[in-house]
């Protein structure tokens, strides 16, 4: 393997954004296979960070920092990948904080942790109208859509999104995960979601289960 791929992984472990972005640029600019940079470099580093998190050697803020570097590097890889007609990562996840709610911390944490399990995460942001979520599900065809809300007054929006997915004929094509402080198992069942998780690590376990994948061995 290209030793620069190994150096790219090391840069992610060290949370060294400048080096990671630099190596990615060199690799893509120098004609390296974008699929290999993404899979063997970036995604493999995130999986390893996930293993280290599992072992208690890495804390969540470090996972979030690594995920942000991943995103910057991926912006360089993606155009080349599309041009080469290559596949992106495995399962896609679309995430959003629902309409009326500006609390996106939990969703951001879940997004970062998802990357440590190999998911391709598309974050729609906060205060996201239902129609945009439906549109994203239609266009990106994700395996999972994750809905977050913190307020008891915005939680009902999760139900509205599920209804809208049903009306658009998309509900059966995607698994729906819900989360946020007022969200419970009971609520998830009531609104017909496929699952709920009380925090980011639990959300990853659930997502792997819903996607029918296993967490890579430590």
């Amino acid at each position: 393997m290209d030793e620069r791929i190994l150096a790219l992984r090391e840069a992610l472990y060290a949370l060294d954004e400048a080096t990671a972005v630099g190596i990615t640029g060199e690799l893509i600019g120098g004609g390296a296979a974008p699929q290999e940079v993404l899979q063997q470099g970036l995604a493999e580093a995130m999986l390893e960070i996930g293993r280290r998190w599992n072992a208690g050697d890495v804390f969540l803020p470090e996972v979030v920092a690594a995920a942000e570097i991943f995103k910057k590097c991926n912006e360089i890889v993606e155009p080349a990948l599309i041009a080469a007609g290559g596949k992106t990562l495995g399962h896609k996840v679309v995430m959003a904080t629902v309409k009326g709610d500006l609390h996106d911390l939990g969703k951001n944490m879940v997004g970062a942790m998802m990357k440590t399990a190999g998911f391709e995460v598309h974050d729609l942001g906060k205060d996201v109208p239902t129609e945009r979520i439906v549109e994203a599900v239609r266009d990106m065809e994700p395996t999972i859509v994750g809905l977050s809300s913190l307020l008891t007054t915005t939680v009902p929006e999760q139900r509205n999104v599920i209804k809208a997915l049903e009306e658009a004929g998309l509900r059966r094509a995607v698994k729906v995960m819900v989360g946020g402080a007022p969200v419970t198992e009971e609520w998830a069942t009531e609104i017909g979601a496929d699952g709920f998780a009380p925090n980011a690590p639990e959300a990853v376990k659930l997502a792997l289960q819903l996607a029918g994948s296993e967490r890579p061995e430590a």
Partner: protein, 495 residues
Amino acid sequence: MSAEGTPRIRPVPLRLRLDPFTEDEIERIHSATLRVLERTGMHIRSPRLVKELERAGAIADHEALRVRLPAEVVEEAIRLAPLTYRLAGRDPDCDIVLDGANSYLTLDGCASDLVDLETGLRRSSTKADLERATRLADAVPEITIIWQPVAAQDQLTAVQPLHEMHAQLTNTSKHIQQMTAIDPHNARGIVEMARIAVGGERALRERPILSAFQCTLSPLTIDGDPLEAALVYAEAGVPCGWVSMPLMTATAPTTPAGTVVITNAELLGAMAVVQLLVPGAPTFYGVCTSTMDLQSGSIANAFGPEEQFFSFACGQLARRYGVPSELGTFGTGAKTQDWQAGAQNMLSGLVSYLAGGDMLCASGTIYAGSVFAFETVILDSELVDIIRFMNEGMSVTDEDLAVDVIEDVGPGGHFLAHPHTLANMRRGWQPRYFDRGTWEEWEAAGRPSPRDRANERARQLVAEHVPLPLDNGVEEQLLEVIETHRKEAEGADHG
């Protein structure tokens, strides 16, 4: 304990005080805060209010909705906020005055789940649960201010806060502090209902049976609707505080001092903004700052020493600014009333009193504020009672020193039946829920925990306590307000 002898409310005198931060340290936090407000500023999500704030002296970026507040603008605005004011009860015996002489405990809010009093299982909350929880708090004298402990989630979301107000006005005559109406429409409905209950607009200004607070969004954001709601309250003469609840490491820096700066900046900024728009409006400085679990990213269920720094620092800061404080109290991550809950609640309870909080928030939840439990209100009342007793202090009069009594009994005797003992022993502290029985009694009773006694007591109070009824015809008018607002909300939805 005779019912006649029990006061409606039992505040805690503020006699013991600990100011662990030096004046210099407090000034460093203060000037760091002013730098943040002037340099970074706040994101205020209301184009209309950003314009008004610019006219009042703020430096506004209309596109980004960013408001930068020069130090002198902040300091002058905060000076307009009153130091002392009354929070009335529908029952005048429940009136309280925020004047630094006493500390007042609030009921917690606003959980979406509760532990069912009968089954002991966690479930989602309804309006009927809110009625029961409010009635319990009305009966417990240690609770002096009523928040909304659980949400009336079985009601129409658009008017849920109005249903919550209805549930509370019919189940308590203590002061209500409203926290769930976070938009101007519901705030107007709440004000309308309070006016009906107290006898009109002027009556509510003179006897505010209602106060409220809005939350900032950490870091450094105020959403448009809560700010508009705060202005509705301010214009109606309803005291409206601000509560900041950043999470250290996530929505605030990972250092406790940096987290205090975020808290202080949000509160000073939000209070200044309201003072610039409605000068002199009564407000308060509310702190629910907490820490994050590094592994999971959840709010740390291990409430520990750092939360105590926040209480101490913010208590001192609020006094520096001359505004009443409301400090985070009884934060526990426990899932039931166990060792962790007891230790955490006693720690934060004691510290927030020592920090001089005018209001202490809040009693009644477990699992980091997200699950309400009736038993917790009862057990917290025991902890507050210990703190109250400690704050009342040990009396050192001649009668207390008892030199003549000691002479009477002499070496080797006993004090048990001495008239001095019989006359004074009931001044001592008596436990209500701590287990003081023997091992054998405990075994014979099936190894009960304090939680079991609290459950029994809570059931009894919920079943037997009769709150002060509303005057004839008032409830009908309250329901009319809800109905009017419901129709408006539906019209807006279809419009």
